[in-house]
């Protein structure tokens, strides 16, 4: 029981560390798209790891925590995709250091302007 508790708390701590890194990423990254990358991928992982750690700490709650985790896993990509697409189409600029932007070509290939 003691080892399980410590593992659960460690996984929770790892998850919140990822949350912190994601938040650090949205502060430090140069443009919106890079920020979004840090702020959605890292924090989704941190969120899931934290919920997993809580589930290890309290195994009776695993089903409900898994429900929340599944929900986050489904919804968060949708909202960040919609946000990135809207930002691109409303003309939020890329950072100066960006090397290559392939999105316009991909749009033309698929017939959307």
């Amino acid at each position: 029981m003691g080892a399980q508790q410590i593992i659960g708390a460690a996984v929770t701590l790892l998850g919140t560390a990822f949350l912190f890194l994601g938040a650090l990423g949205i502060v430090r990254m140069p443009d919106l798209y890079n920020r979004m990358q840090a702020g959605t991928k890292a924090t989704t992982l941190g969120n899931l790891l934290t919920l997993l750690g809580l589930g290890i700490l309290q195994p009776a709650w695993l089903v409900k925590l898994a429900l929340i985790a599944l929900f986050v896993l489904v919804t968060n990509p949708i909202s960040s995709h919609a946000l990135a697409r809207a930002a691109y189409r409303s003309g939020v600029p890329l950072a100066d250091v960006t090397v290559r932007d392939e999105y316009p070509e991909a749009l033309q290939e698929h017939g959307e302007a």
Partner: protein
């Protein structure tokens, strides 16, 4: 040991919330702020779950789930607004 780790985890999450608020204040344009809002909701949701564990009441997880649904909708509607689709 376990208490110390959990306390450290919660404080780290709250510090992450402060960092996200920095982006919320500074972020040029509404889109950056919407990203910060998304990150904030993703940070606060596990904090709620952690508090549920701390208080030992599973029903508090319902609040976290409602929170997740509604913040997702908030961010999506901001995105659709910026895309002129609302």
């Amino acid at each position: 040991m376990v208490d110390l780790l959990l306390d450290l985890a919660l404080s780290l999450a709250a510090g992450a919330a402060l960092l996200a608020v920095y982006r919320l204040l500074m972020g040029p344009g509404a889109a950056s702020r919407a990203v910060a809002m998304d990150v904030l909701s993703l940070i606060i949701m596990p904090m709620m779950a952690g508090y549920a564990l701390y208080s030992g009441r599973m029903i508090y997880l319902d609040v976290a789930l409602v929170y997740g649904i509604l913040s997702f909708l908030g961010v999506t509607s901001l995105a659709r607004y910026a895309d002129k689709g609302v």
